[in-house]
Amino acid sequence: MANEFAVELQDVVKKFITPEGNELNAVDHVSMQIKNGEFFSMLGSSGCGKTTSLRMIAGFEWPTEGEVYIEGKAMGRTPPFQRKVNTVFQSYALFQHLTVFQNIAFGLEMEGAQKDEIEKRVKHVLEMVQLTGMERRKPKQLSGGQQQRIAVARALVKVPDVLLLDEPLGALDLKLRKDMQLELKALQQQLGITFVYVTHDQEEAMTMSDRIAVMSKGKVQQLGAPVEIYERPANKFVADFIGDSNFFEGRIKSLSKEEAVVFIPDLNAEVTGIPVSQGLVNGEEITVSIRPEKVLISEKPMNQNTFSGKVTNTVYIGTDTHVYVDLMGKRVKVFEQNRISRLDPGSFYTVGQDVTLVMMPENVLVLKKE
Amino acid sequence: MLKRLRENKSAQGTLLATPTMLWMIGLLIIPLLLTLVVSFGQRSPDGDVIYSFSLDNYIRLFGYSTDCDNGQASCFDPLYLQILWRSLTLAFNTTVLVILLAYPLAYFIARAHPLRRNTFLFMVLIPLWTNFVIRVYAWMMLLRTQGVINLGLGWLAGLFNIPFTPLEMLYTPGAVLVGMVYEFLPFMILPIYTSLEKIDNSLYEAAADLGANGLKTFARVTLPLSMPGVVAGTILVFIPVMGTFIVSDILGGRQVILVGNLIQRQFLDARDPTFGSAASLILMIMTLIVTYFYTRKFGFGEEIVVA
């Protein structure tokens, strides 16, 4: 393909008028570049602008400012039916008055494809989603998972440059959703089509995506591979939204080229040896964050970055045990993996037990205050 | 051109609504304005409209009279107010009776087996699809002195050796009431049915679960939830009753004068379109006021269109 980027959003703004008559920037100066053949996700809670961004790519909405490019071409106000992208809707939007075959054939008919061509391609795509033999059914007669596959098949049969998926698994139960995630990913890899996927489920995004754009309040908070987003969240929002984090308010006490020392008033303690990110100033008020699974519970005190506390609660959830520790009045979450059987009550931390928490400096993140 | 239209949603909406709006403006709003203009006019002796601005017709409607018994120049003549009041009372009575008759039937249909519901519903609609005038005529056959009801009653009385004089039913206000109730009953059944049918069965279960007995469930759950249907039905019954003149003409023997008759007469008998227009507008304002207060209290049920 000629262009490196399948989809490009350039400084896109979408304004809506709320029912109260206020102006709202649903999408607020968003720029992103989605590479060809990439599985790209937009992740965020509802109202963050991810669906609006997707709809602007599809052509259901037009940007108030900025420009959407598909395969390098500025889209302007091109209507949806003139864009080589197709959408899988959250509600699937399968035409209830048409059969499965007619649903899938709809897009091909619009292209003016020949009858036998249509039949061949519908058959092929049904094989692809493993629903051969369902042609005569009406959408209502299918299960949720089957409907979802038909929705994907209907979009894929058009061989779009980009497939847009708007929370396509939202209506399915957990087990089915997990299966479908893997299937979708496999399908994408097999076909090599660019997928732009919108979800509010971080695990789903992590599972499938090559890259994720975390969005909030109409802005892209961070854009990167799943591991970057998890391990190096750009700000407190991302750190909080993706996975769990313990946050402490702090101040940079000293700053060298390699590492920083941060003072945390709540704990009346210093954390040393923290890797430095750009743009920090000595003395700046910052937020310190550490993932619960990266806090270690130690029986005996160590010399550096250790804190004493009391266990206030433990929750057994199967893979992990969540231990809540009171650290000078501040509650800290610790996830301990259950590598050994916890059937023996002795292997549990008991409420009130004194413990020492270790926060290794390389696991501690310094985030700018928002 | 097409592209610009495609991009202008507001223009698309306006364009789609235009034919209907032309009809509404041309055949509802302009005629109403014309009626308004005529109502301020005066009649010539031959019944022509002399366009002027005079409130005489309205003053006359509200009881001002220059035709007094005791030689006064003007006096209060409640004639037209009485007609207005009579129409309001009749419309009110009709509506109440119609609700009382419609509710059990609508309830019965709504709670019937779904496979039979459509059939029961069609049985309500079929009389509606016969003709309005035919239905009134059918009641003439039932109500007259030698009509079916009197024959039936006479036969019954004969069985028990009770002396029987045929009841005088036709050409009475009662006949008009019966005719009105009959004509507009389906218009109440349908909206009530629609709103009852919407009530989820689990609500009855919840009510029963919370310890409500049949009557309490009805009073606290069923009735409030079916109010939109009753409201819609009331609008569909009350307003036509206020304006109908055929029922009172045929079943009332032209002796029961309602606003509808008054208006029709002004145009067709008395050759006074100005007074008739004024009466039309007063009738319209009356129904609007009743509708406004009624719907403000109970809301404007969307059942009005589902019916």
């Binding site: 259901f60 897009g107 | 035919i134 069965n201 279960e205 109908t244 003149f245």
Partner: protein
């Protein structure tokens, strides 16, 4: 009326014991009484269409058959070649009835078609678009519902007579080219009172309509018109049809508006029946009513049969 076929396919999930009103004898008996009230006049009407008495006040028995000509004794029909169906034969001979029936159907069909099309358009506009006159448009649709028919009828009469006077005068139209009351004015007026009902019914249907169906169609390459034709219209069709049915019913039944807007050659059945009622009321009126009722009844039965069949197919 919404005849959702889903009703027919979803099994009845009632919990008999839970619903305290179901099969309550009071409900059942009062419902049956209301049905009797609804049907008694109609049954009497039909029975009397076989009446031998021309005056049709009391039922004097069925008209005896077997005679090649009608024999009258005073007001009693002693014999008729058509037998009990004497009055139906009389009706069949009456070409005014055929003409009135034709007019009624013409008016009902044309006004239903026009009001369904423009009413659906308006419903789409009101439900989907924002435009300047939207609140006004929505409000104006309630006018025919909240004002008495006679007010509307007289207003329209005044309008047409004034308008035609002006047009005929200014264009110098005379003779047959003059604009005058007739089928055209009746149809135009019937559209006026049908449109709001169609619009409101379709609007109600559109309220539950997920916009993503249309977006899906456009996404798959259908332009606006194709989307409407292939997706939107089939999906709102039940709403449009019940709106159209309502418009058709209103048009068939209308007396008042037609009374004020008709002219030569546009007599409808309701007007004709009213005319018959004003002449000597013979059982011919009943015969006409019987034919009418049976026609409506069979049309409804056929429609329902078709609907049930369709529901079963799905």
């Amino acid at each position: 009326m919404s005849h959702d076929p889903a009703h027919l396919t979803i099994p009845w999930k009632g919990v008999c014991g839970m619903n305290p009103h179901r099969r309550h004898p009071f409900i059942f008996s009062s419902a049956m009484l209301v049905y009797v009230f609804l049907y008694a006049p109609i049954i009497v009407l039909i029975l009397f269409s076989f009446n031998a008495s021309r005056a049709n006040v009391t039922f004097e028995g069925f008209v005896p058959t077997f005679s090649d000509k009608v024999v009258m004794d005073g007001s009693l029909v002693k014999a008729s070649p058509c037998g009990p169906f004497h009055w139906f034969c009389e009706l069949a001979k009456d070409k005014d009835v055929a003409e009135a029936a034709g007019n009624t159907l013409t008016i009902a069909i044309v006004s239903t078609l026009v009001s369904s099309v423009i009413g659906t358009m308006a419903a789409l506009a009101l439900q989907r678009y924002e435009f300047k006159l939207k609140p006004f448009s929505q409000l104006s649709l309630y006018i025919p519902i909240v004002i008495p028919e006679i007010v509307m009828g007289i207003g329209i009469l005044t309008l047409f007579s004034q308008l035609f006077g002006v047009i005929n005068g200014s264009l110098g139209l005379t003779g047959d080219s003059r604009l005058s009351m007739g089928l055209g004015t009746v149809i135009v007026s019937h559209i006026a009172f049908s449109v709001p009902f169609v619009t409101l019914v379709v609007q109600a249907r559109l309220q539950g309509f997920d916009k993503s169906y249309e977006e899906a169609a456009m996404d798959l390459g259908a332009n606006e018109w194709t989307t409407f034709r292939r997706v939107t219209l089939p999906m709102i069709l039940p709403g449009v049809l019940s709106g159209a049915l309502l418009a058709f019913t209103l048009s068939l039944d209308d007396f008042v508006i037609t009374f004020f807007t008709n002219g030569p050659g546009s007599t409808t059945l309701p007007i004709y029946v009213y005319g018959l009622l004003r002449r000597i009321i013979t059982p011919q009126v009943n015969a006409l009513s019987t034919v009418w009722i049976l026609t409506v009844f069979s049309v409804v039965l056929i429609l329902q049969w078709l609907q049930t069949r369709e529901a079963k197919q799905h």
